[in-house]
Symmetry: C2
Subunit: 262 residues, 2 copies
């Protein structure tokens, strides 16, 4: 069990110091984690529209001023250039770097978007006695591209990406109830059961993240995922973009129970 009990601020400090370079699932129990998308200002309005019309994969928690790497509403000391364990850098829809610090890439016209991440509700699920195999095994979740198209907005379009957690139907019903309270970290799942029904050919070859086993008596449960913008960037070819590396999230000072719907 790799759950690390720290505050969000302590976790960010360790990440900023370079002590953590992997995935953040299970870290900073009870704090909201966020996906990151950074785009040049002339693409930012289109992306804001994309988030608005795709709230399941892209629940927008915060947005920076152009050129500013800070996001004080999510944490007073946050610096988006250093506070995530891993980043992907994209040019014209092609990944050109996997970095752990993006200070050298920073520009005055960049706008950062923080998008709620499903890691945020994992502790709420575990508090309800639901076992999460990827956390128990110290892995990232398994993440898949689907055949479901997002609602296009401006120059952005592309497929919905989902994270998968495997559990019994009884636990899945409880997870649906619990996650319904947290729409701004993806909320309820979008599918369970047959992976092919949403265009996933093989659960053992995730498009991102790690392979996580589905055991007998369990069903795979699929949540809309904040890696969706990365598939959208690949489909939409903005000249420049930086995202988090899948599983390497921004840990915010928001507490999950602060953002519950009820």
């Amino acid at each position: 069990m790799s759950t690390i009990t720290t505050t969000a601020r302590e976790a960010r400090r360790d990440i900023r110091a370079g002590d953590i370079k992997g995935q953040t699932s299970g870290m900073a129990s009870g704090f909201v984690q966020a996906n990151l998308v950074i785009l040049p200002k002339d693409w930012a309005d289109d992306f804001l529209a994309f988030c608005h019309f795709n709230p399941k994969p892209c629940p927008l928690l915060g947005m920076t001023q152009p050129g500013s790497p800070t996001l004080p509403i999510l944490g007073e000391d946050i610096d988006l250039r250093t506070d995530l364990p891993g980043y992907y850098v994209w040019e014209n829809g092609v990944r050109v770097d996997h970095a752990h610090d993006i200070s050298s890439y920073w520009r005055d016209d960049l706008v950062g978007f923080a998008i709620g991440c499903s890691f945020s509700f994992e502790h709420a699920l575990m508090d309800a006695g639901i076992r999460l195999r990827h956390i128990e095994e110290g892995k990232n979740v398994a993440i898949f591209r689907t055949n479901i198209e997002c609602s296009p907005a401006g120059r952005f379009c592309g497929p919905l990406v989902v994270s998968m957690r495997s559990m019994t139907p009884t636990d899945a019903i409880r997870a649906i109830q619990i996650c319904s309270r947290f729409p701004n970290v993806h909320g309820a799942p979008i599918h369970f059961g047959d992976p092919e029904a949403i265009g996933i050919a093989d659960l053992n070859t995730p498009d991102y993240g790690d392979v996580v086993e589905v055991q007998a008596g369990e069903v795979p449960v699929f949540w809309a995922c904040g890696v969706t913008p990365q598939a959208v960037v690949q489909a939409s070819n903005p000249p420049f973009c930086i995202t988090h590396a899948p599983g390497s999230m921004l840990i915010t000072d928001l507490r999950i129970h602060e953002v519950s719907l009820f």
Copy 2:
């Protein structure tokens, strides 16, 4: 589509007049329907305890005074002897009659229990665009005994009985959300998917109700059912008991949105 839009009071009047003798699914849109259990007073305390410790199958909405067939908190004019389209009469756990009026069986020591029925939330599901095949086909739901044991209480014990509705995973997720708001008409499902996981060998041979097809791309979804007391009566052998006939419910004046949790 056999949905009949009437008020609860009009539906009870038609049933009392003997014009309706079958099942009540789809009738009196938006009103809470109830399962019925009638027991001699010396068995009633045990049954109250059974309801308390089995709230999923037996969410108790109301209970009569001994000897009284009225239940004014659920409807001013309710007479439990005449207001359901069908009744089963049980002696020592064996069914001895299927009646449409139980006036001749009434005794001064009988206590009636009204237990929330899943028919109550079906209109909330249909209002959300979820199609219910048994209603579209004018059938009763399919009802099955499971291998899940209820919590025993006093002299009562027996298996959990479930109703089945078939739908896509997307609709099942929405149904779980909607039904979670209505715990006193069985609330969220208790299982979906593999019937054998809860001891159901064949979906085409329901123990009560009608056969309802599960089509390609759908999963069977199982709700705790108020027919459970009938399986419990068969297992626990009270000397005398009257229940509703499966699917032939008491239609109450409560509106489903009056009893929603939130």
